[in-house]
C-alpha cells in the first residue's frame, strides 16, 4: 500500500515535471488576472470577473469598490476579450458606447503596456487587471489563470 502510494507520487511528480518542461519549452505564458497583494479577495469565478470588467457590478464580492483596468491593444487584449469577456472588439466598443451614453458607467482605465497595468494594480488596492504570467512578481497577487 505504502509502496503503491510512493510510486504514485513519483509518477505524479514526473508528470508535473514533464508538463512544466513542455510548458516552458513552448514558452506559452498564460493570461493572469491580478489584484493588489493586500486585496482580501482570493478568487473570483468567471461570471464575477466578467461583471467587474464590464462594470455591471461596481464592487468585489466582499463589497469593496473594484477599479478594472485594461490594455488598449495587442495580443493579450485580444486573448482577454476572447476568453474572459467573450466579446468581439466591435461588440465591446458598442457596449461601452451604450454604457457611457446612458450615464451608467465609463470604460475601464486603459494602459498601453503591461508594465503600466501592473504598476497601476501594484499601487492601487481597488484595482484589478491582467498581465502575462511571466511578468508576475510579489508586487501583485494572481486571482485566476487563463
Amino acid at each position: 500500500m505504502s509502496f503503491n502510494l510512493s510510486l504514485l507520487s513519483k509518477l505524479c511528480a514526473t508528470i508535473i515535471f514533464l508538463s512544466c518542461i513542455s510548458f516552458s519549452a513552448t514558452s506559452q505564458a498564460s493570461l493572469v488576472i491580478i489584484v493588489h497583494p493586500d486585496n482580501p479577495v482570493t478568487s473570483l469565478n468567471h461570471a464575477s470577473l466578467r461583471k467587474i470588467f464590464l462594470r455591471k457590478i461596481k464592487s468585489f464580492p466582499n463589497g469593496t469598490l473594484a477599479k478594472p483596468a485594461e490594455l488598449n491593444s495587442g495580443d493579450l487584449r485580444n486573448e482577454f476579450l476572447k476568453n474572459v469577456l467573450k466579446k468581439s472588439e466591435s461588440s465591446l466598443s458598442s457596449y461601452w458606447a451604450r454604457m457611457l451614453f446612458s450615464g451608467k458607467a465609463k470604460p475601464p482605465a486603459q494602459f498601453k503596456v503591461q508594465a503600466g497595468m501592473k504598476n497601476y494594480v501594484a499601487t492601487n488596492i481597488e484595482a484589478i487587471g491582467y498581465i502575462e504570467s511571466d511578468l508576475v512578481d510579489n508586487s501583485v497577487k494572481v486571482l485566476t489563470i487563463y
Binding site: K56, A97, R98, F101, K106
Partner: protein
C-alpha cells in the same frame, strides 16, 4: 447655456485642493444620407395637409426628422453629441450631455445635466435632467454607434418628449451569475414648441406639452448573453395647440396616461435576437408598438432583418362614426460594418406599409403613404 454653467460650477468646485477631480469626455457623430426610392404619391396626411413632399418617411419623430421625395437628404438621421463627466470623488459626480439632431437643424440641446450620488457601491441617486428611460435604447437613442441599425424603429421610438427634470434612484446587485438593476424616477417636463406633435401631427404655429407627476420604474436583468427589461411609467399630460397668438386650442388638460414596455435581447454565439413591445393608454387614446429583429455577426459585419409595427386608436383623427387609426408596418434590412475601431458604416433599406385611416374635415387620409427608404451612413464615437 445651462450646460456651461454646470461645467463652470464643476471647475470652481474642482479648485478646492482637497478634492481629487477626475474628468471624462466623450462624444459621437452620425452622418447619414438617405433618399426615398419609391412609394405612394397621393392621399397622405403629411403630403396633403402638412405640405411634405410625399411619399415620405418619418425617421426621427422626436425631432421631426422626415425624409421627403425630393432627392438625398442628410438631415433626418444625422446628429452629434458631447458628454462630460466630472467626478469629485467616488461618491459625487456631475454628468452633462448636449445633443443636436438634423430634424431640429442641429441645434444643440441639453439632454442631460445631473448630479450623481453613489450612496453605496450598489445604490445611486441622480438629481437633475436625464433621458426618459422608456425604451431599451432610449438612453442613447441618438448614438448610432450603439445599435446595429441606422435608427431604432420609429414604430416604437416615437415619443414626443425624451428628457425630464427630476430625481431617480438605481440599485444594482448580483443575481446568480447575472446581475439586475432596479430603477425608479419622478419628475416633470414641458416643451413650448414640440416638434414631434407640431410638425408631424398638428401643423399649428406651435404645440405645447407638459408632463407632470412622471413616475416610473424599471427592472433589468443581465446574464452573459441575455438582457431582459420591463418598464412602467405614468404621468398627467396637458397639451395646447397654438394656431395663432390669440388662438389657443386646449387639446388635453391633466389627462392621466400610463405606459408599459418589455424588451429582450439575446446575443449568443454571434446570433442577435431582439424583441420589444410597448403599450400606451391615455383617456380615449391608446397605442401599441413592437419590434422583432434577427441578426448574425460575421467578423466585422452584422446583417439584420427587423420587423416593427405601430397601431393606435385616436379620436382626434376620427369622425362621427369611428376613431382614426395610425397603422404602420416597417420591414428593414440592414448591414453594419465595423470597419475601424469606434467607427461603423451602416446601410439600411426600409419598406414602410402605411395602413393608416385618418379623417380630417370630411377627407380620408393615410399617414405618410407607403414608402421605401434607402439610407447609409457612418457612426463614430470618441
Amino acid at each position: 447655456m445651462k450646460y456651461y454653467k454646470g461645467l463652470l460650477t464643476a471647475l470652481v468646485l474642482s479648485s478646492t485642493p482637497a478634492l481629487a477631480v477626475d474628468y471624462n469626455f466623450g462624444g459621437y457623430v452620425s452622418v447619414v444620407a438617405g433618399g426615398i426610392i419609391d412609394g405612394d404619391k397621393s392621399g397622405s396626411y403629411l403630403g396633403e395637409e402638412l405640405g411634405y413632399d410625399c411619399p415620405c418617411f418619418v425617421a426621427d419623430y422626436t425631432n421631426a426628422g422626415v425624409y421627403e421625395d425630393d432627392g438625398i437628404s442628410f438631415k433626418p438621421d444625422s446628429g452629434y453629441g458631447f458628454n462630460a463627466q466630472v467626478s469629485f470623488n467616488e461618491a459625487l459626480s456631475i454628468t452633462a450631455q448636449i445633443e443636436g439632431k438634423g430634424g431640429n437643424d442641429f441645434e444643440a440641446e441639453l439632454s442631460w445635466l445631473f448630479l450623481r450620488w453613489n450612496v453605496t457601491n450598489k445604490l445611486s441617486i441622480d438629481i437633475g435632467r436625464k433621458a426618459l428611460p422608456l425604451y431599451f435604447y432610449s438612453d442613447f437613442i441618438n448614438v448610432g454607434y450603439a445599435y446595429p441599425w441606422i435608427r431604432p424603429t420609429g414604430d416604437i421610438y416615437g415619443w414626443p418628449l425624451s428628457s425630464y427634470n427630476g430625481i431617480s434612484a438605481s440599485f444594482t446587485d448580483d443575481l446568480g451569475d447575472g446581475s439586475y438593476t432596479l430603477s425608479a424616477w419622478y419628475g416633470r417636463e414641458e416643451d413650448d414648441d414640440n416638434r414631434a406633435y407640431n410638425d408631424i401631427y398638428w401643423g399649428a404655429e406651435s404645440y405645447y406639452i407638459e408632463w407632470s407627476d412622471i413616475l416610473g420604474g424599471s427592472f433589468e436583468y443581465n446574464y452573459d448573453w441575455l438582457t431582459l427589461r420591463a418598464v412602467v411609467m405614468s404621468n398627467t399630460s396637458t397639451e395646447d395647440a397654438h394656431w395663432a397668438a390669440n388662438d389657443i386650442e386646449p387639446v388635453s388638460d391633466n389627462v392621466d396616461q400610463i405606459f408599459y414596455g418589455f424588451a429582450a435581447l439575446i446575443d449568443y454565439n454571434d446570433v442577435l435576437l431582439q424583441a420589444e413591445y410597448n403599450q400606451f393608454d391615455a383617456d380615449d387614446f391608446d397605442s401599441k408598438g413592437y419590434l422583432l429583429a434577427l441578426g448574425y455577426r460575421i467578423n466585422n459585419f452584422t446583417p439584420m432583418i427587423s420587423f416593427s409595427r405601430y397601431s393606435d386608436n385616436d379620436p382626434d383623427f376620427g369622425n362621427d362614426e369611428q376613431d382614426g387609426h395610425q397603422v404602420n408596418n416597417t420591414l428593414s434590412y440592414s448591414l453594419r460594418w465595423d470597419f475601424m475601431r469606434s467607427t461603423a458604416f451602416t446601410v439600411q433599406y426600409d419598406v414602410l406599409t402605411d395602413n393608416t385611416v385618418w379623417f380630417e374635415e370630411g377627407e380620408q387620409y393615410t399617414f405618410t403613404g407607403d414608402s421605401k427608404l434607402l439610407a447609409m451612413g457612418v457612426d463614430y464615437v470618441f
